[in-house]
């Protein structure tokens, strides 16, 4: 799929209440373009839910439901079950496959929604779970989550005179999901729309659970000018901090290899959350990225 082939139809309407430069809105817009009309969305509590559905407005042109914070995967399970039953018993929904897509932020996925997600993946529901990862609880004002990267400063992992921001590495969700033995796991970035949309399409076509973690820069939480969202996502991939890969039926495949990895400093120095880092901190981070990239063959 190339830019000229992107579907014109907008299933995620403009006019929502996201911040200027919001990456989550780009996630929803691209995912729905790829999935198409025959889709039902379950949304965890979070930025995406709050900014798109202040009653009586909605940005969703597909059926959409939100119940709570920690249960998007369980909600999607219920939808998938109901669709199957109503198809079989009442002949509803016609012949075409109905995509069930759950959207959860990193907190709603890696932390509070982790149990429900694990259960849904293990049960083998035919659903796509999209984790839109902005690496902290942005909806409540930038608190750390299990997906916050090492040394990032947030309001609950602040950089101070004694502690250098978040003291734990980012939780490795794609590998945890792959360990569930599900048919499709992928990472993606809003800055590589063709790659992301191809993955959403593939995830929808797969029979069984699919998990996509899409890195989604956040202007307010990361601290960079709103117009740089796409650039920020690109830097994350170019520096190797966010490799793009997929694991299809257990087969690992790297989707993008930068000609020459950029130094991590280029990514860190343009974000407020890393402003406190000293050269020695940056070289610690660089080392961990080098090790990870070696592992991935990047």
């Amino acid at each position: 799929m190339t830019g000229s082939q992107f579907p014109r139809e907008e299933l995620f309407a403009p006019g929502h209440r996201g911040c200027a430069g919001c990456g989550a809105a780009i996630v929803a817009r691209l995912a729905l373009k790829a999935a198409g009309k025959n889709t039902i969305v379950a949304n965890a509590t979070g930025c995406l839910e709050v900014m798109t559905t202040p009653y009586p407005e909605t940005a969703w042109r597909v059926p959409w439901v939100h119940v709570a914070f920690e249960n998007a995967a369980a909600v999607a399970s219920g939808i998938e079950g109901a669709v199957a039953a109503l198809k079989r018993k009442k002949g509803k929904y016609g012949e075409e496959k109905v995509n069930v897509i759950a959207f959860g932020g990193d907190g709603g996925t890696a932390d509070i929604g982790f149990q429900a997600l694990s259960g849904a993946m293990e049960r083998g529901h035919d659903m796509v779970y999209i984790m839109y990862d902005n690496e902290a609880y942005m909806n409540t004002g930038v608190q750390r989550s299990g997906s916050t990267p090492f040394m990032a400063s947030t309001t609950t992992s602040p950089a101070g005179s004694h502690i250098r921001g978040e003291n734990r590495p980012k939780k490795d969700m794609p590998m945890i999901m792959a360990a569930h033995g599900i048919p499709y796991v992928a990472t993606a970035s809003i800055s590589y729309p063709e790659d992301f949309m191809k993955k959403v399409k593939k995830a929808c076509e797969v029979n069984g659970p699919a998990f996509i973690q899409v890195l989604q820069p956040c202007t307010t939480g990361w601290g960079y000018p709103a117009e740089n969202t796409i650039e920020m996502g690109r830097l994350a991939v170019e520096t190797g901090v966010w490799p793009l890969f997929e694991i299809e039926n257990g087969e690992f495949k790297l989707n993008y290899r930068p000609l020459k990895r950029k130094p991590i400093e280029e990514y860190l120095k343009v974000q407020k959350r890393y402003r406190h880092l000293k050269p020695e901190d940056i070289s610690v981070i660089q080392k961990t990225i080098d090790m990870k990239c070696d592992e991935y063959g990047l």
């Binding site: 009653y55 059926p63 369980a74 109901a82 039953a85 429900a116 259960g119 293990e122």
Partner: protein, 387 residues
Amino acid sequence: MSEVKVITGTSAAAEAAKLADVDVIAAYPITPQTTCVEKLADFVANGELDAEYIKVESEHSAMSASIAASATGARTFTATSSQGLALMHEVLFAAAGMRVPVVMMNANRALSAPINIWNDQQDSLSQRDTGWIQLYAEDNQEVLDLVIQAFKIAEDEKVLLPVMVNLDGFILTHTVEPVTLPKRETVLDFIGTYEPKHAYLDPKKPMTQGALGDPNYYMETRYAIETAMRNAEKVIADVHDAFAEKFNRAYGNGLIESYNLEKAENVIIAMGSICGTIKDMIDLKKKEGVEIGLLKIRCYRPLPVEMIKDALKNAKNVAILDKSISLGMNKGAIYADVASHLKDKKTVNYIVGLGGRDITSEDILGIYADVETSEDGKTNWVGLKEE
């Protein structure tokens, strides 16, 4: 024709869900509810029931998946008890707020700590403000009949609220009784099919459910539930009457049941299986020429206050039995709700049977004797061991 089976209360609930031809079941095991979801799993495994059975990893997910299935447009059933119900607490509000007519069986069991698997009603009474209709069964036949009625009540367009059918753990869940099972066609003819106009998820007609309700809208959604609760009083009575006509079994007026209240001055208000023991004592004393009475609450939410007041117009001394306690207030839930409406009578609260403590016929007779002489507004813990 209908058939009679000797079954437990949990089996009766499962049979009723089967008769209602539910589309989706999302359930998690917990004592003493488990035999209900086991039975349903058997029905599905043997092709006796065509339903999607979602084997969730927790009660929180059981309720979340149930809400979603119902929001998609499927007739949905689940079951739980005690800790499981407490774990659902958050999403019980969502079920009512989203107006999904989920039906749930709850096996009444004490809450931890100390951990205790035996019966009291603290679990469901602690959920009284969640917006669920709450019905309580006295015996296993009533469990089956209530679950059937629950679907018709929940799905009524004037109601559209989730319904919880409660039965006392072990006392009903693990005791077998003869239960008359009607034919599926008769039951389905009675309930009708579920074709929601207010909550469905269909790509052909996109709908947003569970939106953000800011201060401009939130209060009205709560008031709408309260209005639906008031509507439910009549619907519950009408569904009960229609059921009585079709299936030939009646339970008072559907919301409350009066037992020998015409002549009795000393009366008990109670809920659940204990009403059977109380009725036996009333019959026994009647033979001795003593008139005592019972007001059985069958529907706790919506609470039929006017009906209760009217039924007790001849009573003088009212003993209110509670298998729950609001700690720090020293009153049970039913007393707290009902006593303020009975200002012209003496009301005494009896805390009974917490964590499965046995309630004997002697205890019941003792309460009838005590309420006559006890001080108004007092709380007595029955059968409490004192050091």
